[in-house]
Symmetry: C2
Subunit: 185 residues, 2 copies
């Protein structure tokens, strides 16, 4: 990719912020609505993102990178159990819009490309690190292996989204789930 | 609906069985493939189900009714805790094809109609009954309310499907989740 001039960089960032908002609300929204919210012309959107699929993937990548960075930051937390569950909370709470974007990408005839896949792998690695720390700290069951804990994270996220859970129900669902993950007192 | 003659009823049942198999494998499969597997002409399929959406909904309804009947049957089981977890297991294990059909219905431009909604409500009621019995039996935490337990069921189903989990990982995921639902020894 060619380096972008400062104003082009600003436009790109504005378009991504607007797209996250617009597609988070409705995955079937049009690129036109993104241009309006970003206050740029539609031609500018297409110059940065020639297809809707490319725009959706860029939004998904940004979200995954942000979650990865949050997991890395939480790995420095004093209480590894609290850090692990705080990250789990955040992923599930954010899932509605993140999954809507992933679904929209599927509907746009493209599954996640290299950038989103790399960001996803980085997020999983950082989550695995939080899990390992919480297990070493004795706060999460040592016999819970990564694949099934990650499956619970995905499942809780999808359950919260599919059932459009009220935040109170979501929190009680997570409390039950965390009861299974925590070591017994 | 007009009563069907015996051979028409047989054709309808054969089409539904074939459709469950074909759309369970791939929600984007064509009605033509269903006709071939059912060994009937495509005109016969369209006579029973004028649109793909109607065929998909009939398949989804049959599956939900079957799960509801299974939950009702399990409610007669001696061990209400074992009955509750056996039903949970079965829903999650079957989720891959059931969800594929629900997704296909969405993609066909129609969300579940009255028949599927009624079957879904019957299934939820029967599941709620299994939960109440397991709680009265002291095997499931009494403070777990239906909405969050149902959200866990949906979440575990979607997690197993989205991540295409190996059966072993699925079982370990459920073991963690059940640890959170069970009363403490």
């Amino acid at each position: 990719m060619r380096p972008l001039r400062a104003d082009a960089r600003d436009n790109r960032a504005r378009i991504l912020t607007a797209a996250e908002e617009v597609f988070g609300q409705s995955p079937n929204a049009s690129t036109d609505e993104v241009a309006k919210l970003a206050d740029v012309g539609i031609a500018t959107v297409f110059r940065h993102f020639p297809t809707k699929a490319e725009l959706l993937e860029a939004v998904l990548t940004v979200r995954l990178e942000r979650l990865r960075d949050r997991a890395i930051e939480l790995a420095g937390h004093d209480d590894p159990g609290a850090a692990f569950f705080a990250f789990f909370d955040q992923v599930v709470a954010e899932a509605a819009s993140k999954l809507a974007i992933a679904d929209a990408l599927g509907a746009a005839g493209s599954s996640a490309g290299a950038d989103a896949r790399e960001a996803g792998a980085g997020m999983r690695e950082a989550f695995g690190n939080l899990l390992a720390r919480a297990q070493r700290g004795g706060q999460v069951r040592a016999d819970a292996a990564f694949p099934e804990v990650y499956a619970l994270l995905i499942g809780a996220s999808r359950g919260a989204t599919a059932a459009r859970l009220e935040p109170e129900v979501r929190d009680r669902m997570l409390a039950l789930l965390y009861g299974g993950l925590r070591t017994r007192a």
